[in-house]
């Protein structure tokens, strides 16, 4: 049992939740998300983000619009949809339950 392995599994599980959280605050494009996730040490390789974003978008939780950039080609700016907000609420609830459970276990 490798501790790093377990840690990365935990991070992977949280990744979608964190992306939705980030996008709730403000709409962002992929590189912004990557930077913020890397600051939080949630991302190992950048490529991981792209399949996730596409899946979330295909599930109707995210939408994007193209915006011109001063520094290069146009960028896709992602934002939460209505159902994305609903989904996030559910996840918030689940996260609350999780932390409660974990804290309870820790105190005991």
């Amino acid at each position: 049992m490798d501790v790093n392995n377990v840690k990365s599994q935990m991070r992977k599980g949280m990744l979608e939740y964190c992306i939705l959280l980030l996008l709730k605050r403000e709409e962002a494009y992929a590189s912004d998300i990557i930077r913020q996730l890397q600051e939080a040490e949630l991302l190992v390789v950048e490529g991981t983000l792209y399949p996730l974003l596409t899946r979330l978008k295909n599930a109707g939780l995210l939408s994007y619009q193209w915006q011109e950039s001063t520094q290069g080609p146009p960028r896709k700016y992602y934002a939460l949809t209505e159902s994305g907000e609903q989904f996030l609420l559910e996840l918030d609830r689940a996260w609350g339950e999780l932390t409660t459970t974990v804290n309870y276990l820790k105190v005991q």
């Binding site: 991981t48 399949p51 596409t54 899946r55």
Partner: protein, 567 residues
Amino acid sequence: MKKNITINLQGRLYAFDEDAYELLKRYTDSLRNYFARSEGGEEIADDIESRIVELFDEQKRNGAETVTIEQMESIIHRIGNPGEMDGATSDTSDEGDNPEREDAPSSAGEQEEASIRQKRLYRNPADRKFMGVLSGFAAYLGGDVLFYRLGFVLLSLFFMFADGLRWVLLFVLLYAVFAMLMPVADTPEERLRMKGKKVNPQNLADEVSQAVRVKSGETPTGCIASFFFMLGVFGRGCIYSIGIMLAVFLLCGVGIFIAFMTLTSEELVKSILGDDNIWLFISDSSALSFFAALAVIILLVIPAYCIIHSLFTNFKQLKPMSFRLRLSLLIVWIVAFVATIIAGTRLVGRHDVWCAKHTEYRRAKNTHDGIYYMPHEWNFLSIRGWRVTLAENCNDRYTAVGQYYTGDPTVRYIDNWDDAHRQRFTIRRYEHLMPGTYRISGCVRAEGQGACIFVRLGAKSPAECYEIPADNNMGGNIWAEAVAKRDSILRRGEVRDSLELERLSAIAAANGARGFGWNRITLPDITIKKPQALYYGITTDPELTGRTWLGRWFSACDFTLERISKK
């Protein structure tokens, strides 16, 4: 120095080192392949590509002008390989039935398994002597390619010495078949599969940078292309060797020519080329001969050199000649051409003069008692004591071969012909004899009447003539006797002298068993009372025979003079 290429990515230009671009292409291809089967895969790949472009921009802002292989490797490391990317959700989305979508093997055992499964037999153009077949086998089966090559050559040589050249052909053919059937490990992925390594970005990057170090050179990839490539190499090889052989022959010939021309040693040339070719080297000015030789050599060597040079150029071993060199070669060649013509004309003129002189000289040298003999005829006749005393309309020919009575085509005999029946010919022997009784006999034949054997005692007395039977070139008593004797021996059924039988059979079989018309004539015995000169011979001279010669030819041989008693 690295080759640099400019690529348009999403509307902007980026400069790449060639190997870096190669790696980028492999990487994005592998991404597209990987995501191709999942929903929105195209989009994922596009997004990642945008990210890569963004990272290029970042590096550009930091002052990097071209994308190097190291930068490309670090970008790939940063973005990750497709398996890693998908890890987060692979258990929730697809069933993982696509083997390529499996996570990177985590233990050494799995990796080993993967490598065995993935190893494939490829031709290896990166380390090739000819088409890279043996190198591919070495990669597939393991071991150093050197031993495969040694084995191939030694085995084919061994079989060749043991059982002939066809084994080499078989080996070459086998090689050609494999070369045509085995796919080429042309891309980094294929090279990885050839070596049995896992195809992932890290290995790809290694492979790409290695491929730059080991420049692969050009080798065709398809089966038919391989076939024609090998055919081409074979063809070029043939032309190549023919060219080299021609050059060698030419140079040898030229060398000998120079040697002769410059030496102009009459004796040496005579001994090698014979009397009739010595004209080439008889010169009042050896400078002319020398310049003629030089001009001819230049005339030949320049085109030969050009042909060989162009062959080598086609084989990519020499640079094409510069314009200045071509021009000077052309000028030299034209000068040589003119010189050859001038010197050649003068030499030919000299040749004509010399030929006339030579004919005169030869005529004089081979004329005996006012009669011209071919040297070999003179030898034949003079050794046997024959002397031609009269030769009119004889075509300068006094002997022949081909119709000797035993059928032996090499035996020479006296022979004379003139199709217009005009020749007058006398040939004789002379002996000074002691008293006694003598007998003359000889073999003769004639086409028509009027040819005689004559005998004369002393120089002045009248000749006695015995006409040669005109049996033409069929039958004759020699043949008839031989047939009869042979038949009687065969009838008796008991062979006492097999050599004699053989001789008789040969005579009987001559001229398709018809004989050549030869008759053995024995003249009446001659009695000599006092030491005296005896002349005998063959003649068609009417003054001697008192007859008119009606035939076109007669032949004679095997004349003997025998002393049969002392009285």
